[in-house]
Structure formats: structure tokens, C-alpha cells
């Protein structure tokens, strides 16, 4: 029998359905892989019993001849930003350490309803704020990838969904949930040589997802193939009356609609994404991507997204502004950490609790956000940033008259050694320069692995699509996947 941990969502689902192996065998295999991979620090908590219980339920259904669900028998990793009932949910922050929600997020519930089980809660940047997974209170995740030069430098898995990316790449989970506020699915997917899609804003309910920046946060799957992402996104998505920003639209059958033939499609190449400082190999991979899409029948057209260079600065005003308000609820009054120094009052408790509970990057963003919303600064920062956001969205709207989807690099560089950027937040923020515009405009975007660079590290390519056109994004991604034949895996060192 094949090593079950080599299998992705589709193969597991079919194997379980056909009786090639049981869901329990799959869960046991991945539970063991998770337990053996503690050096990656990808999990904050493992939940082997959850995975086994879900697997047993699927096996029982199969014995009865019942429908197993679109994710039947597939155990997954759950980013620890999703509230899971009775299972510690921390957002990788000390301030929520030990917090066990009485409720299940809509997205995770949708996955359990589709037959999936949970291997554990995955590590991430604290409150999803970071691009390297170094801001977690529970220690950084280590990428399974290492440079091919033989140096054993620990590399960053990217962030914030670093635990998700690392565990999918290391084959300790077949797939994982991620969330993407300004690239937090796509950038780590690119760093880890896996596939991840952020759907249109509103496709996946935000109910039960610890909020970072509400107008940008969007959940999505991270998996080993475009097909697996299509299957899992279909299970996660759907209108939720509990989220006022949820899209009131039917979820298309993306899996069934997959089609790598791009004849008649136009793919736009935005000239503004050719930025100073972009790695030469990234630009090479971009050229390669054009070839693949052309080969799949698409026409490549040059387009312009003139406000691209303002997107990142605008993002770093809007996201912290929302975060500074969203994180006000962590005050030590009702749940989570409470630091109440002897004889102190309410204000002292707030100060002590938040000082002890939040990490440096979280504090930095809360301070930035508070500053840009303050009287006298609001118009100069927040209002201007919102105007830019509108202009960025208009850039895309204009582009759709010329093309059906946009091809761009996912990141300006490959993964970097852990610690190499931690003193340089601005360079760190630049990681998301290609990811942020689609986030500001709420557009669906996927990252698929393209190739390894000369250091032996993966590079990803990004497809950005029209609103609600996840199908077009998945299809273009599939066309690239079929031509890239990316089958590299990190050499197991953990």
C-alpha cells in the first residue's frame, strides 16, 4: 500500500470511498506524521482524537452506504485563527492562551459537515499579523524547505498561514485552512511550493474567525493541487446569515467546472508589477508562466494597473486601523489573559493585560492603527487610504475590459532565513506587495508553485481573477500546474 500521507484530498476521498483504505487508517497515518514533525513547530495543539472520531464517522457511513461528503475521510489542519468548539483557539497570541470557544466557526463547521476531520490547530503569525511566522507567541514555524547549498539554515515558511503551508509541504497534512488579509494564504503557499487560493471577499464566512482586518480577511484552502483547492473551497464557502458581509450567492461546483483549456481567454500582464528589487528568478518564472498560459490557448495582453505602487502603503493604514479596533475586545475582562496587579484599577488592568498579552508586531500595528484613526490624522491617513483602495479597485475594473484574469508573481523573493528580516519591518511588509492589491479589491487570487530557484527554494505564480470568478482563477491555475509539473518536495530533515 502507498504511504497514505503522500495523498491529497481527492485521492484520499476516492480511496476511502472505494474501500482501498479506511478513513481511520488515513487519520492514523497523518496523526503519526504530525506527532513526528514537532521540529517544524507547525501545530499549536494536535487533535488526533478529533481526526479519529471524524474518520470513524465516515467509515461507519460507508458501511451503511451513506453519502460520505465532498471531504469524506480527509483529515486537515486548521489554522488557529478559526474558533473550534472545545479546542483551544489562540490566534497564536498569549492573550488568548487557554481560550476554548463554546462555538465552532462557520468555515470549520462546513468542513466537518463535508466529512473532514481535524488533525490540530496550526501555528501562525500572531493575530495573522506577519509574513514570516515569527510573530507567534508559540514560537516560529520552520519551513520544511532548506536551501540546496547544504547549509542547514532554518527558512521562513512565510506568513501568516505559515503552519498551514509548512504542514502541507511537509506532507503531515493533506490540506489546511488558511486566511488571507494581505497575502497570508498566497505568500506562504508560494514559499512552501504548494497551492492556495483566496476567494472573492465574502465567499467564506468570517463568523468565528478571529478578526484581524474585517474588510480584508478571507478564508481559503491550502493544498497540494488546484483540484484539491477547488474541492476544499467548495466545502468551506457559502452564504452565512451570521456574517453581514457574506456573499448571498450559490457556491458553484468548482471541482466539476475545472478546465485547463484557456482558448479564447485573455490573460493580462500588469506592467506595474515589474518593480525594482524584484528577484531576477521571479521575473524569469513570470515569463515562464506566460508561456504556459499561451500554450494552454490563452492570449497574453499587456495591461496597466496604475495605482499599484500605492496599494501597499494604503494597506498598512487600513489593516492596522481595523485591527486596532478589532483587538480592543482583548481587555482581560471576559476571557483570555487577565493581568490584574494587586490594588490596581480598570485602566491598569487593561494596560498590564495588553502589554503582557500582545506581541511586538501586534502592538506595532495597534499603535499604527490608533494613530491613523486619531483626531487630526484621520483625513490625512485613513480617508486617503480609502481613496486609494477605491482607485486600486477601479484599476482592476478597467483591466477586466481587456482581459479575463491577471498573471503576476506571488512574491518579490523566495523564502528567506528566519530572523533575517525581523529587525526590518518595512522590508518584511514588502513581501506582500504583489498580493495586497487583490486583497484591497476583494478579488479571488491563487498561488500555484512554478519552479525551484537556484537555491532550491520554491517560487509561486499568482492568478488574480474577476469578482466571483474563482472558476477562471482555478482553471488558469490548473493550466499552469499541468505545465509546471512541479513535483519537488522538501527533503525530510525533521
Amino acid at each position: 500500500m502507498t504511504d497514505l500521507t503522500e495523498l491529497g484530498i481527492k485521492a484520499i476521498r476516492e480511496g476511502v470511498a472505494n474501500g482501498d483504505f479506511t478513513a481511520r487508517e488515513v487519520a492514523e497515518g497523518f496523526n503519526a506524521a504530525v506527532a513526528a514533525a514537532s521540529e517544524l513547530n507547525a501545530f499549536i495543539v494536535a487533535t488526533p482524537d478529533h481526526a479519529l472520531a471524524a474518520a470513524d464517522a465516515v467509515d461507519t457511513k460507508r458501511a451503511k452506504g451513506d453519502d460520505l461528503g465532498t471531504m469524506g475521510g480527509v483529515p486537515i489542519g486548521m489554522k488557529d485563527l478559526f474558533a473550534t468548539k472545545g479546542v483551544q483557539t489562540t490566534a497564536a497570541s498569549h492573550i488568548l492562551e487557554g481560550f476554548e470557544p463554546q462555538y465552532e466557526s462557520t468555515v470549520s463547521q462546513n468542513l466537518w459537515d463535508a466529512g473532514a476531520g481535524m488533525l490540530g490547530k496550526l501555528n501562525l503569525d500572531q493575530f495573522a499579523m506577519g509574513s514570516s511566522n515569527e510573530t507567534s507567541y508559540f514560537g516560529n514555524v520552520v519551513s520544511p524547505w532548506r536551501k540546496s547549498n547544504g547549509a542547514n539554515t532554518d527558512m521562513s515558511p512565510g506568513g501568516s498561514s505559515g503552519g498551514s503551508a509548512a504542514s502541507v509541504a511537509a506532507r503531515i497534512v493533506p490540506a489546511a485552512t488558511g486566511t488571507d488579509t494581505g497575502g497570508s494564504i498566497r505568500q506562504p503557499a508560494a514559499f512552501a511550493g504548494i497551492t492556495g487560493i483566496k476567494p472573492t471577499y465574502g465567499r467564506c464566512s468570517r463568523w468565528g474567525v478571529v478578526a484581524f482586518a474585517s474588510s480584508l480577511d478571507q478564508a481559503g484552502p491550502m493544498a497540494r493541487s488546484v483540484e484539491d483547492c477547488a474541492i476544499m473551497l467548495e466545502a468551506m464557502a457559502g452564504f452565512d446569515p451570521k456574517d453581514a458581509t457574506s456573499l448571498k450567492m450559490e457556491v458553484p461546483n468548482w471541482e466539476a467546472g475545472l478546465n485547463a483549456d484557456l482558448k479564447g481567454k485573455k490573460i493580462g500582464i500588469p506592467k506595474e508589477y515589474r518593480m525594482d528589487g524584484t528577484d531576477a528568478e521571479i521575473l524569469e518564472s513570470w515569463e515562464q508562466g506566460k508561456e504556459w498560459l499561451r500554450d494552454a490557448g490563452a492570449e497574453i495582453v499587456d495591461i496597466s494597473l496604475p495605482h499599484t505602487k500605492y496599494a501597499l502603503p494604503a494597506y498598512y493604514i487600513i489593516a492596522p486601523a481595523e485591527a486596532s479596533s478589532n483587538l480592543a475586545r482583548y481587555d482581560g475582562v471576559r476571557y483570555g489573559l487577565r493581568d490584574l496587579p494587586e490594588g490596581s484599577g480598570l485602566q491598569d488592568m487593561y494596560a498590564a493585560t495588553r502589554a503582557a498579552g500582545f506581541g511586538d508586531e501586534v502592538k506595532r500595528r495597534v499603535l499604527i492603527g490608533t494613530y491613523v484613526l486619531s483626531a487630526g490624522f484621520y483625513d490625512a491617513y485613513y480617508t486617503q487610504a480609502q481613496k486609494i483602495r477605491t482607485l486600486v479597485a477601479q484599476d482592476f475594473e478597467k483591466a477586466w475590459s481587456q482581459c479575463d484574469a491577471i498573471l503576476a508573481p506571488t512574491t518579490p523573493t523566495a523564502s528567506f532565513p528566519l530572523g533575517s528580516l525581523s529587525d526590518d519591518p518595512l522590508t518584511m511588509y514588502l513581501n506582500d506587495v504583489f498580493a495586497v492589491p487583490a486583497s484591497l479589491a476583494g478579488l479571488p487570487a491563487i498561488s500555484v508553485p512554478a519552479m525551484l530557484n537556484s537555491d532550491g527554494l520554491p517560487l509561486g505564480l499568482q492568478i488574480i481573477g474577476k469578482p466571483f470568478d474563482e472558476q477562471g482563477v482555478l482553471n488558469a491555475g490548473l493550466a499552469m500546474q499541468q505545465r509546471a509539473n512541479f513535483d519537488a518536495q522538501p527533503e525530510k530533515w525533521w
Binding site: F82, A83, T89, A91, L96, F99, P101, Q102, Y103, S105, R206, W207, G208, V209, V210, A211, A213, S214, S215, P241, K242, D243, A244, T245, A321, E322, S324, S325, L327, A328, R329, D331, V333, R334, Y335, L346, Q347, Y350, T370, L373, S374, A375, Y378, Y382
Partner: protein, 500 residues
């Protein structure tokens, strides 16, 4: 038009300028953004949803009923209804505010410019009807409640009220006396209760006002610096606050001091206000659009539905009572001031008109007098002996009908109603068995009159000689002889006939 209210200072006369921000709790079973109940008086923290407690990842979803009530209220004050409005977050830390922000509407409120008419009240110093401008109405969440008396060193938090929908109704600084402010609050309360958007219960905190007061020398055109006294929860207290603040500010200025823009608290026990915080330590609320909520866009169908569901409002009703029912302005105003009053009146009016067999307009004055003075008087005189449940419209209509036909006198009507209130018996049966009926039988009355005239020949002569006043004497003697049960109209007629 100008109010005569003045503060007599050492340096001359001062006038006062008042604006009110009234917080009215929206009548709705569920909170503004969560499904939790809004019932008053429940055990602490039993009406708190995950959203109200601001658990991680919880999201607000607007309650359509609250939006509807705010729109209907806006329509009732003839205000601009904004088809596009938006929710903003008002950020500050406090233990009764789990989210760390209040969801409110700063930049784009749901209701814009409107107005309200306060009625002339000579006695209170309001010489004429006066229009008070309303700047806006927005919807927002209420906060929870801190309890400081439960533990020696800790404060407890009750989140039951947290997230309950409030309308903040902001007036223009158009009021110039405590009486006007009192009339404004009463009128606003009346409108809210007509519309059904707020129960107006000030004791339970369903309605409370922030009172903005400033003073200036009579004749000055510039406004003085204002203070804002928070959370005043009765009409009387609103008037007290203004009285006290105006005098305090005048004294302060005349003593060479300056009024500081600040938030003040009203102390009920002493009837005074004290400083809570000044503008310098005011919060920076960092308002910004709530990204969890899409802008509210009201559709024409929704607005049409809101409008068609509006009842006849106090001013229109009052005008109709005067023009169509022919009531006096006083009666019309009294009857339309409260929902319960007009509802009782209209039920009784329709029952009485039916029973009497005349159009409503012809019996309205009689019914209004009964409803405003006779019936309440009887009820009050009986005190605990009366069972208000017996005060049915049917019974009262029956009494009014007997009176209209001349079967009973006004005094008998009261007596019958007393028995009805005590026992619930049928009014007509009471009139029969208790002998509470007037005699209209001309034969019996004629006999009595003939006897009286025969026994008082001298007075008959004097009357015929021009002493008209003696007519009353004959009426009195006749009524006495008839034991007060004769129909006075019949007595008058026969006496006139006989005396020539």
C-alpha cells in the same frame, strides 16, 4: 414667539439656549446586532449572546425591525430619511463595552433634518406653538451596566442591556426655557409612543436625555459655551438641570469666571450638576466605518411599507378633533397627548355614537367631557373601591345614551357609573332598579306644579308683576317635590306654559 424666560443677573438679564440629545430605546424583541432578548429586569447576564460578549470572531448582523422603527420615527417627525446610511465604530475602553467600541452612526445617520411642534401653554410661559428643529436621528448600541455595590474591591458587570438598540434624537439648540424643553421631551415621547418605536418609559431608562445648556446676555447673537449634562431620566429632572445650569453659568460668568465646555452629571438628591470630565480629557473616539457591516441601503418598498404603517400622529389627530369633531382646543390637546387617552376616547366615541344613533361629531363634545372630567372624577373619588376592569366602553356608552335621551340626569349618570365601577352591573338595570331615572312624564310633573302654584299664589302674582327671578324658585320647588328626578327640561317647559 420669543420665550419670556430670563435669568435675572447682577449685570442684567440673561437668556438660556438649550439643545437636547434624547436616547430612546427602540421597541424590539431582539438587540440591534444580535438575537439576544431585550426584556427589562432579567437576572444579570442572562440576555447576552456571544456577539454581545464580544467573543473572538463574533460578528454583528443588523436587526431589520430596529432599522424599520428608526425610519418610522424619522417619518413621524417629518424628517429626511437617508436611503444610504452607514454604521461607524466609536472606540473607547470601558468594562461595560465588551467590543471596545460602540457601533453608532456618526458620518451618515439614517435620519436627517426634521422637526417637532411644541404646543402653546400660556401658564408654562409658552405663548404660542413653537417648532423645534431636529438635526438628526441615528441608531446605536447601548452599553452594559457596572455594579459597584456587590463586592468590597471589585465592580461587577451586567451585559443584559449591552447591544440594545437606541435611537439618538438630536435637537437643534432651539429651546429657550425649561418649560420648552419639558414640552419638547413630552411631545417627543408622545410621538414615539404613537409610532410604537419606543415605550417612553423613563424610569426603566428607555428614554433619557443629554441636556446641552448655555447662557448669553439678552440681545447677544453669539452662543455661549455650553455644558452637557448626561443621562437625565425624567422631564422634571431635565427642567431642573436647565434651571440649575443656567443659574450656575450666570453666577460663574458674573463672578468673572468662564464656563468650560464639559460633561456634567445630575445629582438627583441635591438637584445640582457636577463636573464629570472637561473637553481636555475628552476621549478621542477614533470613529471609522464599521468594516463588519455593509452600508444600509433602504429600498423604496421598505420605505413605502414604513410610511403606510404609520398611525395618525398627535398634531394631525388634534387638528381633526377640533375641525371634524368640534372639540375645544383644550379638549383636543388633552385627548391626543397620550396613546392610552385617545385610544380610550375613540373606542368610547364610536360605541356611544352607535348606541345613541347619531354621528360621532354630534356626540363628541359630550363624550369628551365625560372622558376628560366626569369619568376620571368618579374613578378618583372611589379610589380602591373601583375596579377599573368594569370601566368598559359599552357600559359608559350606555350611560351616555340614557343621558342623551334625557332618561337620566348628569348626577344620575355619575351615580350609575359609581355602581358600575364597584360592581360591574349593567347601567340600564341599575337605572331601573335603583330608581335612578328622571321623570319626564308630563302628567306627574303637571300635578306637582299645579300644587305648588296653588300654594304660592302670592309669588305667582309677584312673578307676573315682573319679578322674573322667581322662576328659579318654582323650578326648585318642583324638583324638590319630584325628589330631584324630574327632567329639568320638561319642568321648565311646563312652568313656562303655566306662568304664561
Amino acid at each position: 414667539m420669543v420665550s419670556t424666560y430670563r435669568i435675572q443677573g447682577a449685570t442684567g438679564e440673561w437668556e438660556v439656549v438649550i439643545g437636547l440629545e434624547v436616547h430612546a430605546q427602540v421597541t424590539s424583541n431582539a438587540k440591534l446586532f444580535s438575537g439576544a432578548s431585550t426584556e427589562f429586569g432579567a437576572e444579570p447576564n442572562t440576555q447576552v449572546s456571544l456577539v454581545d460578549a464580544a467573543m473572538p470572531g463574533m460578528l454583528p448582523v443588523p436587526n431589520r425591525e430596529c432599522i424599520r422603527q428608526a425610519v418610522r420615527t424619522g417619518m413621524a417627525i417629518e424628517a429626511q430619511i437617508n436611503k444610504y446610511s452607514r454604521f461607524d465604530r466609536k472606540n473607547y475602553f470601558y468594562a461595560d463595552l465588551p467590543q471596545g467600541y460602540q457601533i453608532s452612526q456618526l458620518y451618515h445617520p439614517i435620519v436627517g433634518e426634521g422637526q417637532l411642534l411644541i404646543d402653546a401653554d400660556e401658564k408654562a410661559g409658552i405663548p404660542e406653538d413653537k417648532v423645534i428643529g431636529i438635526e438628526r436621528i441615528h441608531i446605536e448600541q447601548d452599553a452594559g451596566k457596572l455594579m459597584h455595590d456587590q463586592h468590597p474591591t471589585m465592580s461587577y458587570v451586567d451585559l443584559n442591556r449591552c447591544g440594545v438598540a437606541l435611537m439618538e434624537i438630536v435637537s437643534r439648540p432651539d429651546m429657550t426655557s425649561p418649560a420648552e424643553a419639558g414640552a419638547y421631551v413630552r411631545k417627543l415621547r408622545s410621538i414615539l409612543r404613537y409610532v410604537g418605536s419606543c415605550d417612553g418609559n423613563m424610569e426603566e431608562g428607555s428614554m433619557r436625555a443629554d441636556v446641552n445648556v448655555s447662557v448669553r446676555k439678552v440681545g447677544d447673537s453669539e452662543l455661549g459655551t455650553r455644558t452637557e449634562t448626561k443621562n437625565v431620566n425624567s422631564v422634571r429632572f431635565v427642567m431642573q438641570v436647565i434651571e440649575h445650569e443656567a443659574n450656575r453659568q450666570v453666577d460663574l460668568i458674573e463672578d468673572g469666571g468662564k464656563v468650560v465646555q464639559e460633561t456634567r452629571l445630575f445629582d438627583v438628591a441635591s438637584g445640582t450638576t457636577r463636573s464629570m470630565r472637561s473637553k481636555e480629557d475628552a476621549h478621542d473616539y477614533r470613529y471609522f466605518p464599521d468594516p463588519d457591516l455593509l452600508p444600509l441601503e433602504l429600498e423604496d418598498d421598505f420605505l413605502a411599507d414604513c410610511r403606510s404603517s404609520l398611525p395618525e400622529l398627535p398634531d394631525a389627530k388634534r387638528r381633526r378633533y377640533e375641525t371634524e369633531l368640534g372639540l375645544t382646543p383644550y379638549n383636543a390637546r388633552e385627548l391626543t397627548a397620550e396613546v392610552e387617552t385617545f385610544a380610550r376616547f375613540e373606542t368610547l366615541l364610536s360605541a356611544a355614537a352607535l348606541r345613541i344613533g347619531k354621528p360621532e361629531a354630534e356626540v363628541a363634545t359630550q363624550v369628551a367631557n365625560w372622558a376628560l372630567s366626569v369619568a376620571p372624577g368618579v374613578l378618583k373619588s372611589l379610589g380602591a373601591e373601583a375596579d377599573p376592569a368594569h370601566a368598559s366602553a359599552g357600559a359608559q356608552a350606555a350611560i351616555l345614551a340614557m343621558q342623551d335621551k334625557g332618561e337620566i340626569s348628569g348626577g344620575q349618570a355619575k351615580e350609575i357609573y359609581e355602581i358600575v365601577l364597584k360592581t360591574g352591573r349593567d347601567p340600564e338595570e341599575i337605572a331601573d332598579t335603583e330608581g335612578l331615572k328622571q321623570v319626564s312624564d308630563t302628567g306627574a310633573i303637571e300635578t306637582a306644579i299645579d300644587d305648588i302654584l296653588a300654594n304660592n299664589q302670592d309669588k305667582v302674582e309677584q312673578y307676573k308683576g315682573g319679578k322674573d327671578k322667581l322662576f328659579g324658585f318654582f323650578v326648585g320647588q318642583t324638583m324638590k317635590a319630584m325628589q330631584g328626578k324630574a327632567n329639568p327640561a320638561v319642568v321648565n317647559q311646563i312652568l313656562k306654559d303655566k306662568l304664561g
